[in-house]
């Protein structure tokens, strides 16, 4: 049971992720871009952030930097349609826990979420 924020400009994707994670018993909030997500993060401490890399107004990496200013241990999983090695390396070097490219299988994201939550609990 964890509080998770899903940040993606694709509303349907957000919805699907909420259903998947909700069925696992997590509480899920949604945000359409980095700016809206930052407002949520300032209001509430989440256990995990699932963030799309490419979004309007504020992209995923910028949002993560701002979120980590509030709490440097914020675990972040990046999801993106850009499947390049460079973007994965960049995301991981900025402190992301995992990096998934769309389309991903349900068990892959759930596994990644469990792993990230376990790490954050230890910390």
């Amino acid at each position: 049971m964890a509080d998770i924020l899903v940040v993606d400009d694709e509303a349907k994707m957000r919805h699907i992720l909420s259903i998947m994670l909700g069925l696992k018993g997590h509480r899920v909030d949604e945000a359409g871009d980095g700016v809206a997500a930052l407002e949520r993060v300032r209001e509430k401490r989440y256990d995990l952030l699932i963030v799309d890399l490419k979004m309007p107004r504020m992209d995923g990496l910028t949002f993560m930097r701002h979120a980590q200013e509030l709490d440097p241990t914020y675990p972040v999983i990046f999801i993106t349609a850009f499947g390049s090695v460079e973007s994965a390396v960049e995301a991981m070097s900025h402190g992301a826990v995992d990096y998934l490219t769309k389309p991903f299988e349900e068990h892959r994201i759930l596994l990644s979420v469990e792993k990230a939550l376990k790490v954050s609990r230890i910390m």
């Binding site: 400009d9 349907k12 994707m13 699907i16 490419k54 979004m55 309007p56 992209d59 991903f104 349900e106």
Partner: protein, 478 residues
């Protein structure tokens, strides 16, 4: 006025020089020769008079007219002698006077005193006694009237010969200089012609003849070398350009692949996720329906994407026909109202009443309008307004679409019409590229408006009447 070339300048200066020299030499030489001849002539007449005086001594003493007449007749055979007179004293009746027919009293004359020959000889031997001789009274006087007609004729003849010789010499040297100048200048001219040909046609295989002067041959050789190195660098440039084109094509392909990956993988992600959710047992019916509609939507999105690509990759030629542009605009907005609930509330249309007829391809123009309006609606989302206006001016239709969005970032303004360039997180970057191409195919243009009050804006301008001959030119659009 065109300034004269080397050849002309050279010739003119040489001709002027020859003329000055020849005229100067001719005039001075002629004068000297004339003076010399006239002096000689005068001397000759004096000599004749002296000899007559010498020979007439005895005749005068004896007053032998017959003898004197013989002497005079002999003298009259000289062509220039017109009259010969021998007299004892000046005021007396002459002993002998012989005249030619052409005699006139005004003719010039020479006189000589007839002296006693013994006195004369003495005078010649004892020059110091010349004073005594002068005191001697002469026996008589001889007078020779002569005509200058002969010498004048001679001098005139000489002058005219001189004149013709001078002209001949001047012409000869002019011809020489003309030939020299031409041989100097003609290789230069050929070089100039070759250079002009290179400049005008870009033909680097021009043949250059350096003529037979060493300097011009060196110049021609240098010119040939220059052409050779020019051809070499052009080949290098062509190679570099080809390489650059290849790199550019690869870069375009890279951009294209990135965009395809993003635009295809997003709907695929949603479809995949929906399927995963659908597979769950005991899923409520309404959620099942939602997931199915998600999949349907995303499949439609993928299909539209492919259609967009095809439309962009294989553009068709516009089919021009009279179209009511105002109706076209209203129709475009009505379609948005069907797709988006708030579209009709957010769009403000400002068009003149009545139809606005223009020769356009209705489908293509509608596509362009849809892309621009969609762009504006997305930029001004969620609540911002979009203003659309149409006007005709000088045979051109002008459609302006403005929005309340944040406007186009400065760094994107130059690239906004490039294919695959997008500032949005979703989008192919083909929408505005297609707009520009459609407008260009209609002989018009699409411009980004620089709005001082903020917000974005586009202006589409195209001729109301399609010109047939413009078709070829406008086909060249993107």
């Amino acid at each position: 006025m065109k300034s004269p070339g080397i050849h002309m300048r050279f010739l003119v200066s040489v001709w002027a020089m020859i003329l000055v020299i020849v005229v100067l030499l001719g005039t001075v030489g002629g004068q000297v020769a004339e003076t010399f001849m006239r002096e000689r002539f005068q001397e000759h007449m004096g000599t004749l008079a002296r000899y007559l005086a010498l020979n007439a001594e005895l005749g005068v003493i004896l007053e032998d007219r017959e003898m004197l007449e013989r002497l005079c007749k002999n003298l009259l055979q000289e062509q220039d002698v017109m009259a010969v007179t021998v007299s004892k004293a000046l005021n007396e009746k002459p002993l002998v006077q012989l005249k030619k027919m052409r005699f006139a009293p005004s003719l010039p004359q020479v006189e000589h005193a007839v002296m006693l020959s013994s006195r004369l000889e003495e005078n010649l031997i004892y020059e110091t006694n010349a004073g005594d001789a002068a005191n001697e009274k002469p026996l008589g006087t001889v007078t020779i009237h002569y005509s200058r007609a002969g010498i004048d004729e001679l001098i005139d003849g000489m002058k005219s010969r001189f004149f013709f010789i001078i002209i001949g010499v001047a012409l000869f040297f002019s011809a020489c200089f003309y030939w020299i100048s031409r041989s100097l200048v003609s290789p230069l001219k050929r070089l100039v012609n070759a250079a002009t040909e290179v400049a005008r046609k870009g033909d680097l295989n021009v043949k250059v003849d350096g003529g037979n002067l060493p300097e011009t041959r060196i110049l021609a050789d240098s010119f040939r070398e220059m052409l050779l190195s020019l051809a070499q660098s052009r080949a290098d440039l062509d190679r570099t350009y080809q390489e650059m084109l290849r790199q550019q094509a690869l870069a375009e392909l890279g951009k294209f692949s990135m965009m395809v990956a993003h635009e295809i993988k997003n709907p695929l992600g949603i479809i995949r996720g929906s399927l995963d959710v659908l597979k769950k047992p005991d899923l409520p019916r309404d959620m099942q329906a939602t997931m199915v509609s998600y999949m349907e939507n995303e499949l439609g999105r993928l299909n539209r994407l492919v259609e967009d690509f095809l439309r962009f990759a294989r553009p068709r030629s516009p089919h021009f026909e009279p179209t009511d542009l105002n109706a076209l605009l209203k129709d475009t907005i009505d379609r948005f109202a069907l797709e988006m609930e708030d579209a009709s509330r957010r769009i403000a249309l400002d068009v003149p009443p009545g139809p606005l007829w223009g020769e356009v391809d209705g489908d293509m123009m509608a596509q362009a309008l849809r892309n621009v309006v969609k762009n504006a609606l997305e930029a001004a989302a969620p609540e911002g307004k979009v203003w659309i206006s149409s006007r005709t001016l000088n045979g051109h239709c002008r459609i302006v679409v403005r929005d309340e969005g944040p406007g186009i970032p400065k760094e994107a303004r130059d690239r906004i019409f490039e294919p695959f360039y997008t500032t949005k997180s979703q989008g192919t970057g083909l929408g505005l590229a297609l707009v520009l191409r459609i407008l260009q195919q209609h002989g018009g243009s699409a411009e980004l408006l620089n709005l001082e009050k903020g917000g974005g804006g586009f202006r589409l301008v195209f001729p109301v009447k399609h010109k047939k001959d413009e078709n070829g030119a406008t086909e060249r659009g993107k």
